[in-house]
Every structure is written in structure tokens, then in C-alpha cells.
Symmetry: C2
Subunit: 327 residues, 2 copies
DNA sequence: CTGAAAGCGCTTACAG
DNA sequence: CTGAAAGCGCTTACAG
């Protein structure tokens, strides 16, 4: 809209051809002195390349599309921040496309959007629900796993194991688990299922039975104390609860506080996610290396872009337990 | 990445020049029959224009940048959905840029991004905190107000008035209000302040005093029942609470349920936002015409783009009260 | 109403 | 190491 500074302005000011400017921009071989002159001109004029022209010229677009269903949960914004920062350091621009509805999903697939980027990071979306056929562009899958693509994910199963061990060490035997059973067209609750499996398997190893009635569906948790939880807190002795998400744990903590029950004394609870508020409320929870995962994802997709022939890599991160007062 | 279909392919298939194809695409004058032939070719080949080329060619980019701090609260996704849908119908592409951090904010302003769009919608972000100087491109402000730009916003003051009236009609005199006092670099809580003002002014009209201790800062609400709320619910007779956000109301409802207090009988509460869950919990709340606002915003920005000389327009929407059992 | 051509800002062989 | 030139896919006056 206002007159933009182009590569030509830089070339003129530096007394070189546009090709040379382009080369310093893209890391071609340029005499160090020339590079310096050009860099100065760029800085002085505050030049930034026109992404559209770049795309069109068929070079790299130096930008990566991140598909995410969410941006504001702590998990997501930390992940996105980390991706953003890492990619920026690698000279890539991060464009976030929020897949918040079927509509947005459709528009994405009816557009050319994918081809305007060097690669795509699938953040927290289920691969199979997103892509009906294998995409012909680089895709990095974050928090899901698929043979044909690079993946970065957390060992959710192990997170469940950790939760079980933490409660067992406290010699707690009246165990419960909170999960939810949502079916969404784009998301799956597979991660939560895995946490649960890890939890149950670890109990099985100790010959501790875990029956259906110990598994509590928490899908109607919002805005209402859970009657089952009230009952458990009131009647069960030293109950131990594995909340497969900190959100569920928060609800339990609220209810318990209102009932005057003290976590770590009257009942025990382990959350999952290490959300910010958990420290203040002293919730024992499973921690994920969020920033490291975002960084790894960013690096892998860039490597893939630069070298499509690379073998497929799957990187699994291990969660850890953050012991606080609640268990 | 895969071979893309271009305007040339369409031209060849239709037996016309690329200019003509471009004209049918952009609504230039084309003979109806020619148009039909071209449209058929487009459909058959599944052609969609290359946005980058379009931008570069200096025509309209037919895409609008939406800046938002959030995508997943009900309010935001409904707003974004509505914008997306409306703009799509007007042949515009919606690109959402999540401003989730100072980092993302900086990158936005250090890039050319603004100039790759026909216009910008500022969704729920404080204008003055976003722009230090008046932007030289079309900006539509949603949920804030500024003289120089088109704005679409809700009459939050009136929302507060409605809340007061609803409680007064029930002849409730022990009144409280829940608000929060957050200072964020990009957001402001001005809307909540206005709701509160409307509430208090309406009380003043009835000569009902409202003291500082009736105003409850709810910023530490998450994960913990609010002691003040417990006290009020336990000791005050027929208390009436205005929750300036449904989220706060949810917290109160939870606490009350645990205490065995019945909304609409033991206490009264009015929320704000009409979030999905409020219906199920029968919360009386203030409703905003979200879809209408998104639609209006989209239409105004497009009109502005097409005619920059248009006088500035400010559109104020009125909230309404949704009476349910809680008040 | 329509075709041919210039130009948008960049990248990348191609020569040198 | 570097300049000149072609080309990316489109739009838009310019002729006709």
C-alpha cells in the first residue's frame, strides 16, 4: 500500500545487481565485503523481502504452515511459541492456520494454501482425520504418529505409568481415573487413552484390579461439581485419583476445597500437563518437555525440506513426574 | 510442489487468452458464453488461483488478515467462523494471525505481512496497544472503538444495565459483582469495566448503594473456590451476583452446588456471554449477537477496501438478557 | 468483449 | 564472485 522497498532499491544503493542481493539474502556465495555493503543497505532501508514474490519465483518460501486446533491453552501457546522462535532463528516464517471448524478445514483443502509453504507442521491434530491421502509436501506430525512422516510425540503411555507409580508409592489402593470420551471430527482422544493404558497396565503388574466403575468419564465436568467425585471424597478412605488432564484435576481440587478435604492428606491426585496454575495449588502432575518438542519439530521439518531424501524420523519424548503436595 | 494448474491451462482449454480468464475470475466484462466455457474449464481442472501471483500482480489480494488473541473460546470461534463465512461468500480469503505473545506481535510488525492483505480486522485486541501510529491500510476494529476507523462493538455498558435490572426485578438488594483486573500488554479489560459501570449506574438510579466490598476481584478464581463467595453464599440472604463473564459464574455455580445452594432460590446470578454450557446449567446471562457482529465487520471492511473514501462508520450492537432459572 | 504485452518482486541457471 | 536475463502466475491498461 505505501511504497515498498524492493530488492532493486537495495541493489541500487549497494551498487550491485539484484542477483547479488538475492544471493546475500539466500546464502549464496558472495564476497564478504560485498555482503557487508548489501547488509548495510538492507538495514538502513529497513528492507524485508516480499514473500509473495519469493513464493512465485519458485524458490523456497521460507515459511511453514502450522495447523492447530487451539492457541490459548498453555500447552498450545507454549508449543507454538517454541516453534515460532525456533523457525525464526532458522529464517523461516511461521503461519498458523487454526482449524477450528469443519468450515475452516474445508477451505484449507479447497485452497492452494499448502503449496504456498515449504512444509507443514500438524500440531495436535489427528493425522488420519486430517489427510485422506498422503500429502505430497513435507509434513511433520506433532503429538501423533504415522509411519510415512517425521513425528515428534510424547510417550503418553509412560506418563500413565508414572502416575500409577506415584500413587502406589504412597501406598494408595483405592484408585480412580478421570478421562473423557469425546468424539470430534478432527481430534481424537487417543493420547488420553494411552495415558490410561499405561496407568492400568502398571496397576496390573502389581496385581491391583481396576474395574470399570473406577474409571470416571469427565466430559460433563464443566460448571458443575461431579457427583461421583463428591461421593468418593466423602466416603472413600485415602482415594487416589489420576486426572488424565490437569483441567479435570482442577475441578476435583475445587470440589474438595469446598468440602474441606485436603489434597495429599484426605485424598491424593496426580494431574497431567503441568499447567501454570498447578504449582500454586501444589498439584502433583506429569510434565511434558513442551519447548523441546516444539524445537525438535521445527528442526526436523526444516531438515526434511532441505533434504527430502532423509529417512523418516520418529522422536519420542519422555514425560516426568513433578511431585508436589497432592500426591 | 506437484504440478499446479495455472491460468494458462484454463486459457488453453477454453480457447481464450489468459486476460479473459482473469477477467471472468475478477468480474470484468466478459461475454456470457465465454464466461460459461471458462467456468467449465475451471471446474473441470479444479483450478484455484495462485494467491502469491495475485498479490504480486498488484491486484487485490482478496484476502484479509484477522488479528486475534484467541481462537477457542466460544465467543472467539463463533466470531471467527462468522467472519470466515461472510468473507468467503464475498470471495475473500481469511487469514488468522494469532497474537499470542510479545514475540508474535514483534514479528508481525517487523514483517511485510500487513501489505500482503487488502485489509485487517482487529478482533478483540486493544487498538491503542496494537498500533502506535495510525496504519495506512484499511483496518476494522472489532470490540473496541477508535475515531479514525470503522468499528463494530457491543454496548457493554448497556449489558451491565440489563444485569442490574434483572436482579432488581427479582427484588434482590444484596448485590455483588465479579470482575477481574488484569493488565496485559495487548489486551485491556475495558469492556468489563464498562459492564460494571452500567451495572453500578443503574443501581444508583434506584438509590441503591454499591460499595467497594461488594466488588469482588476474581482474578484468582481458577482452580479454587473463592472464599468470599463461600462466605456470601453461606451467610447473606438472597444475594444477587453479577458475573461480568460466564466463566466467573461457572465457578460460583460449582461452589454453590457443592454447598447445596440452589441458584434462583438461595441465591441469584447473572452471567455475561451466553456460553454454550450456560443453557444446560440454566444460567441467566447477557447475550451478544456474535454472528451478526462478525458479519457486519466483514461487510464493512470489504466496503472500505472497495471505497476508501467512505465516511468512517461505528456500529454498536445491543446485548439482550437471556432469562433462565438463576435469576 | 478480448488478445497481446508489460510489469509486480523475486530466484536461479547462464555466462563471464 | 557477479551481472543480465528469463521466468514464476497473475492483473491491467492498451489496442483493437
Amino acid at each position: 500500500m505505501s511504497k515498498r522497498i524492493t530488492i532493486k532499491d537495495i541493489a541500487k544503493m549497494s551498487g550491485v545487481g539484484v542477483g547479488t542481493v538475492s544471493r546475500v539474502l539466500n546464502g549464496g556465495s558472495v564476497k564478504p565485503e560485498t555482503r557487508k555493503v548489501v547488509m548495510n543497505a538492507i538495514k538502513k532501508l529497513g528492507y524485508t523481502p516480499n514473500v509473495s514474490a519469493r513464493r512465485l519465483a519458485g524458490g523456497k518460501t521460507m515459511s511453514i504452515l502450522v495447523l492447530t486446533p487451539e492457541i490459548r491453552t498453555e500447552f498450545h501457546w507454549r508449543l507454538l511459541e517454541s516453534i515460532d522462535k525456533t523457525l525464526d532463528a532458522l529464517d523461516y516464517q511461521t503461519v498458523i492456520y487454526p482449524v477450528i471448524s469443519q468450515n475452516r478445514y474445508n477451505r484449507l483443502f479447497n485452497s492452494n494454501l499448502f503449496y504456498e509453504f515449504d512444509g507443514v507442521i500438524l500440531c495436535t491434530l489427528t493425522y488420519k482425520k486430517m489427510f485422506k491421502k498422503t500429502p505430497d509436501f513435507p509434513v511433520l506430525i506433532l503429538e501423533d504418529c504415522e509411519d510415512k512422516h517425521d513425528c515428534v510425540f510424547l510417550d503418553n503411555y509412560y506418563g500413565g505409568v508414572l502416575a500409577a507409580e506415584t500413587l502406589l508409592e504412597r501406598n494408595i489402593r483405592n484408585l480412580y481415573a478421570l478421562y473423557y470420551d469425546e468424539t470430534s471430527p478432527l481430534l481424537s482422544n487417543e493420547n488420553i487413552i494411552k495415558r490410561l493404558e499405561g496407568f492400568k497396565d502398571r496397576l496390573k503388574e502389581e496385581d491391583i484390579s481396576f474395574e470399570t466403575d473406577q474409571l470416571i468419564n469427565a466430559d460433563f465436568f464443566y460448571g458443575r461439581p461431579h457427583e461421583r467425585i463428591i461421593q468418593i471424597l466423602k466416603t472413600v478412605e485415602r482415594p487416589g485419583i489420576f486426572a488424565t488432564t490437569d483441567n479435570f484435576a482442577m475441578n476435583v481440587l475445587e470440589t474438595a476445597a469446598t468440602l474441606g478435604k485436603v489434597p495429599g492428606k484426605d485424598f491424593f491426585i496426580v494431574g497431567y500437563d503441568n499447567q501454570t496454575w498447578t504449582e500454586r495449588l501444589e498439584l502433583t502432575t506429569i510434565k511434558q518437555p513442551i519447548e523441546e518438542m516444539g524445537e525438535m519439530a521445527s528442526k526436523l521439518i526444516v531438515e526434511r525440506i532441505k533434504n527430502p531424501e532423509l529417512p523418516v524420523r520418529h522422536v519420542k519424548f519422555q514425560p516426568s513426574i513433578l511431585r508436589r503436595k497432592s500426591a
